[in-house]
């Protein structure tokens, strides 16, 4: 359980995080979305105790920062952005060092944990290689093994899939989903499809402020209410078609999209209200001699919402 209230962080005069509140229930995955420089990393760093907040409270499993920072740190597994590691150490030595610092004193327990993590994160073949020689993706996996080492209740992952190839992204996503069933996870990303595919809940922040915080389902439904209809007409002339559409519904938001002339004219019609205009639209076009080759209703993607929320005030 992560409970953050009115978190604020100033760097000098610059406000990096402005009054953000978040809660994550146990066993849930929260995606922290936002454009570059929105304050994602700063927020996560405060959650892990690396930065001290200017104001606000952080409670993790009912323990409060900064009074219980050490206990909280031992409950959290953290993967920093771009997984910085000691380049001159071997993967095995590094994992051993992390395990000891996390209080795993029993050598047999350490060894069995290394084997498990080796399988889970795909490290078995690289245990004896220096970290400095590893590719970015492999380093990210070592970082993930670091975060998972003590089997923590809470995982905080800062852009866990950045810089990875598509296969690796899918793998890491599967790992997160797999462990997310019993753990509380916060991860930040700027890839929307990723958040959509893995998170139970999505919080969007922009310029240090939280602009949306809802379950993924809800956000998607909200998006679906505001749909776009794609219409392509053959044999029609632009001005005539535009006047016709304006007459059909003055409230429509019409954009003409680029299509080759042979395929006719395409429009994207954005309806302000939540209704399906296709039927009426077809009936009204039927009266003319234009031919409808395409009439599709597309739900507004999460991406559009993201754009809208993060563009405001930009």
């Amino acid at each position: 359980m992560i409970d953050v209230q009115n978190l604020t962080k100033y760097y000098g005069d610059f406000c990096a995080v402005d009054n953000i509140s978040l809660t994550v229930e146990p066993g849930k995955i929260l995606g922290l979305l936002g454009p570059n420089g929105a304050g994602k990393t700063t927020t996560l760093r405060m959650l892990t105790g690396f930065y001290t907040p200017t104001s606000g409270t952080i409670r993790i499993n009912e323990l409060k920062m900064p009074e219980h920072t050490l206990e909280i740190k031992s409950m959290i597994g953290y993967l920093p952005e771009s997984a910085p590691l000691y380049h001159n150490m071997l993967v095995y030595d590094y994992l051993d060092y992390v395990a000891r610092l996390k209080g795993m004193d029993n050598p047999e327990r350490r060894l069995s944990r290394f084997k498990e993590l080796g399988r889970l994160c795909g490290l078995s073949g690289i245990m004896a290689r220096p970290i400095g020689n590893l590719s970015k993706g492999l380093r990210q996996r070592v970082g993930l093994a670091h975060a998972l080492m003590s089997d923590p209740d809470i995982l905080i992952l800062d852009e866990p899939t950045s810089g990875l190839d598509p296969n690796q992204i899918a793998e890491i996503r599967d790992i997160i989903k797999g462990i997310g069933r019993e753990k509380t996870i916060i991860f930040s990303t700027h890839i929307l499809s990723e958040a959509e595919a893995t998170c139970d809940r999505i919080a969007i922040i922009n310029k240090g402020k939280k602009v949306a915080d809802d379950s993924t389902e809800h956000l998607k439904q909200n998006a679906r209410h505001r749909s776009v209809v794609r219409l392509t007409l053959l044999n029609a002339e632009i001005t005539a078609a535009l006047t016709h559409l304006k007459a059909f519904d003055p409230g429509l938001d019409i954009t003409v999209t680029d299509t080759p002339a042979s395929e006719g004219i395409s429009f994207e019609l954005c309806c302000k209200e939540d209704k399906d205009i296709r039927q009426d639209l077809y009936l009204s076009i039927k009266k003319t001699d234009w031919i409808v080759t395409e009439l599709v209703r597309q739900p507004l993607a999460l991406e559009e919402i993201f754009h809208e929320l993060t563009r405001e005030g930009a």
Partner: protein, 234 residues
């Protein structure tokens, strides 16, 4: 305690994984050996007085070079973040790194044990000043290590850390030779601040509690400042 031990062991091993340890130890041997033996046969005295007399100066350059990477490098690479988010406190980290650096300073002195060994073959060597000298050298090394650590905790740039560390260590070394610049009333205070006099006392074989307290306080003050510097930066 286990955290301090784990960090200290890791940091100590780090020196020997990379070429740093071997380069620093060889250079240290060449420099001290050269200065010591260039006059040793001229005087014809079977003691290590000249070796220990030079040690504060050589240490004030070598020790900051050994400690400059301890925090600066971690901050630069970013591993500082992973370290601080593990269940360890600032004090654990500062002490762990301090013990590793001091152990390395002691390791630097190990090959020089061949000097007293060699001298005891060719003349009659008084063991008291030698034992005192090595004890003093370890205390001096520890004190300079804590200074170097503090300098490293201030910045992410290793060169700046080295220069700040050198400046503080060198000041402590030569301050008691600059007494004629100091107003008369302050002379005893400034004299007490200098590391050289305290080290010389111990290396004569005189173990005085004032000298031990001096080194213990320098170590304490600079580790405490390191702790504060780390907290302030976050």
């Amino acid at each position: 305690m286990t955290q301090i031990k784990t960090i200290a062991l890791k940091e100590f091993k780090d020196y020997f994984i990379s070429p740093i340890a071997y380069i620093v130890i060889s250079l240290f041997l060449i420099v001290t050996g050269w200065f010591f033996f260039s006059t040793f046969f001229l005087y014809g005295r079977a003691d290590l007085r000249d070796f220990f007399a030079l040690l504060p100066i050589t240490f004030s350059f070598f020790i900051p070079a050994v400690t400059m990477r301890m925090f600066a490098e971690e901050k630069n690479v970013g591993s500082y973040e992973s370290l601080l988010t593990m269940p360890v406190s600032f004090t654990h980290i500062a002490l762990g790194k301090f013990f590793a650096a001091s152990a390395f300073a002691a390791a630097m002195l190990v090959p020089t044990l061949s000097y007293p060994l060699f001298i005891s073959f060719i003349g009659s060597l008084d063991p008291g000043p030698v034992i005192g000298g090595y004890l003093g050298a370890i205390l001096l090394g520890g004190a300079y290590c804590s200074i170097g650590l503090f300098a490293s905790a201030l910045t992410r740039n290793q060169i700046i850390a080295f220069i700040i560390g050198c400046a503080i260590c060198f000041t402590l070394t030569i301050i008691d030779r600059m007494l004629f610049f100091v107003p008369e009333r302050l002379v005893p205070v400034v004299e007490y601040l200098g590391a050289n006099a305290h080290f010389t006392n111990i290396s004569k074989g005189i173990i005085d509690s004032r000298d031990l307290i001096y080194f213990a306080s320098v170590i304490f003050i600079f580790i405490f400042s390191t702790d504060i510097a780390m907290k302030e930066k976050n």
